[in-house]
Point group: C2
Chain length 480, copies 2
């Protein structure tokens, strides 16, 4: 056994988020789609949905979030030794988004940057994050930071699922002495072959979805991961009973309501595995459920509503703060879980979370899933990395509020535009550039070999001339 | 600094290869294509090209090679804690091949297996391999093996590049106390945004290629990686001047001739960086080249032929043995480099390579590239892992020779069949099952939701009734 030291406190040092500058309101979308009022807002728990025009693709989202992270943290590109991207927004079957991001490194001369893209539905970002942490702890590490990007554009064909779309990107800086530290050895993974959600139609941006199966898979994966996590966490000295001992639970969120049900599901797991459940306390009134089996309850409405209700306080306190971006932007696929993490940090304070443990559940259809935990450092001195992390995300709600609302009709036109043009070559995008946030990368041209050219909006605040976008969309569609 | 031990001698414990049971002869293909005799065979250095009927896809290749590795090494699926796939043969934009492989684990009940798919052209397997090694050295490691799969189906549109296709899969078992050990810290990476080869036409299996640019990128990446590798290797105590101190150099091989040129290129690098080149010895007659710049010589025929000639002996001795699969099967993309490694082990003996260092160059267009090195253990006792590794690949040439030769006309019909059907749903494949090697997974049906069903040929030796395949192809095409 060679003795080398793992660096201490390896984890997440900084987090940057990006979401589109425009959104559609879910109440208005209910009306536009002619569904019952509350179906999207109360039924699914969604308020707003971000979306991209034809000016944005997976490359622009990642370029934007990486450059923002580097600039806001005042880091040189030479300080990055690993960079990888988790995404399922595949616009090229071979060339990784990572290689496109290398354009940002050109001026620095640093081309010695390991890592490429990882893919399995919404799980890619988690895989990239684990790879980054492992790299820092391995002999391959060269002392530099790792950078992890999770990003996707989630769009669905016209119909029931369209309202569960979204788009966004999260970048995370990984290294030792981090303010958000990985719990070593505490991890539960469940992988399985299943066709719950997949993208076999290569020419379309839309997935093939078996919605009911996907919910079952998600909850089953949560059960399996929680079982392994609990046993491993116990072995590493973390107290069992996650619900009591963690300050927050962050979930991959296809829509907020499923996350609320998942908190109930965790309580159900705790309840069933408890040899002496406290029927006078937290489990009062649940006696009748003591002998049920997890497997049989995925669609048992009574069990679901009972445990959602029983876990209501826990949900409000420990999970709801992490649903800000999911509720306001929608499903960002690989970025969803880490948008949840950013939301938690943006809604909470360093003082509240210092020294506390948080549990994360990552789920990618197909399927790949892991439950793992991290712990905030407890250094509350003013210029600590912990304070910097929290400060950096304090403007999240304000940034979300600064977006432009687009009418469902224009959103619909935009979706048609994407359908018709996202694979075209040559192609000149028609979407407004002025409407983008400042410092946003956007597509300028696709040449006849499908090679894409990009530019970036200036760093001055953007104007939000919604009308111009609409007019351009309409012109394009009428012209076709 | 927490002190934990990295396991000793982390590296490759076992290697399994899979290639299609049928091939087209490159001399016959030259005639069929109406090109000058020797264009493919002498000009590119290729002899035979393996290809798949519509019975095989990326999932079957990976299922086959993983099951073979597990069976031949007598391992239980419960002993695997990580499994990931490097591929650019994307038949689903979201669902990873890794999840399909989880079917093999079902009976064992082991679903706690980390890792998903990694993608950047031919580099994905290398990324997966690095991730596996890092995992074993990190706190995430749970003591089990990692399994790495590199596999692709390389096919090109009718024309110049079609003869550079191929198909295959390599699986590698990774863990501590390995017979083929990673050199820690000795690694040079070069990543860059470039459109030399990519796959933007999502509905087609064929890539978009700028052939000349790709050669330049490959050689430039080799220069850059070699520079970083040399400096890092020196820092870790490995003697500089790789050409003298390594027993073999294995390269990603799009075609064998480029690899031979690359050996010349390494010598050119050594020559130009040598402050006192020995013009009486190895560099005799090269005085006139002392002041040239690497950058200007990518297409300098005089420089190329001079250094190919000067490095001829080195090439014959240290690289040619690794080109067996490349020459006999063709380009296997992510599997190419590791097919080269398997070839080396299959052609050499444990006695010859025990204790010796080998250098590998991985290149994936777009681009991602790394030069790294490994060292064979020196335990030559009869049942050592080193002997087992060499023994396991001794039948490689025999297996290659047992394939069925298919006439270029039938190969062409097969390619048309793939073009027309590889994305169809529902679809029932028509290719022969009897022609497959024993123990090969094959596609039985694609349902109307694009869900794929597979089966496996029995373990008894397969018959090779070439005619039946041909007839079926023809019937299908005429019927359309």
């Amino acid at each position: 056994m060679e003795l080398h030291g793992w660096p201490t406190d390896v984890g997440i040092i900084a987090v940057e988020v990006y979401f589109p500058s425009q959104y559609v309101d879910q109440t208005e979308l209910e009306q536009f789609d002619g569904v019952s009022a509350g179906k999207y807002t109360i039924g699914l728990g969604q308020s707003k949905m971000g979306f991209c025009s034809d000016r944005e693709d997976i490359n622009t989202l990642c370029l934007t979030v990486v450059q923002k992270l580097i600039e806001r943290n005042n880091i040189s590109y030479t300080e990055i030794g690993r960079l990888e991207v988790g995404t399922e927004t595949i616009i090229d079957k071979s060339k990784s988004v990572k290689t496109v991001l290398m354009q940002l490194f050109e001026e620095s001369g640093n081309t010695n940057v390991e890592g490429i893209d990882t893919t399995n539905a919404c799980y890619g970002g988690t895989s990239a994050l684990f790879n980054a942490v492992n790299w820092v702890e391995s002999s391959s590490w060269d002392g530099r930071y790792a950078l992890v990007v999770a990003s996707d554009i989630a769009v669905y064909a016209t119909g029931n699922a369209r309202c569960t779309g979204g788009a966004g990107a999260v970048a995370m800086l990984v290294g030792p002495n981090a303010p958000l530290i990985f719990d070593r050895g505490a991890r539960g993974t469940h992988m399985q072959h299943v066709y719950d959600f997949f993208k076999p139609d290569m020419a379309s941006e839309y997935p093939t979805v078996d919605g009911k199966l996907s919910i079952q898979c998600y909850l089953h994966a949560l059960d399996k991961c929680y079982e392994v996590y609990s046993s491993r966490a116990k072995a590493t000295g973390i107290k069992s009973n996650v619900l009591d001992n963690a300050a927050a639970f962050v979930f991959h969120s296809p829509y907020c309501k499923l996350v609320q049900k998942s908190v109930g599901r965790l309580m159900l797991n705790d309840f069933l595995s408890d040899p002496n459940p406290d029927f006078q306390g937290v489990y009062s009134g649940l006696e009748q459920f003591k002998d049920i089996k997890l497997e049989g309850t995925y669609f048992d409405k009574q069990v679901e509503s009972t445990f959602v209700k029983a876990s209501q306080k826990v949900y409000e306190m420990k999970t709801k703060p992490s649903l800000l971006m999911s509720n306001q932007v929608g499903n960002m696929y690989t970025a969803s879980l880490y948008g949840g993490l950013a939301s938690l940090i943006g809604k909470e304070t360093a003082e509240n979370l210092a020294g506390k443990r948080i549990v994360l559940f990552s789920y990618g259809s197909g399927l790949a899933s892991t439950l793992f935990s991290l712990r905030f450092s407890d250094d509350l001195t003013p210029d600590s990395t912990l304070h910097r992390l929290f400060t950096s995300l304090q403007d999240l709600e304000q940034r979300l509020d600064s977006r432009t609302k687009v009418h469902p009709q224009d959103f619909d036109a935009n979706m048609k535009l994407r359908e018709q043009t996202h694979h075209l070559a040559p192609y000149n995008p028609v979407g407004s550039v002025e409407d983008l946030f400042s410092g946003t990368w956007y597509l300028t041209h696709v040449d006849n070999m499908h090679r894409r050219k990009y530019d970036r909006t200036s760093d001055s605040p953007s104007s939000t001339s919604q009308t111009s976008t609409t007019v351009k969309f309409m012109c394009y569609l009428e012209g076709n």
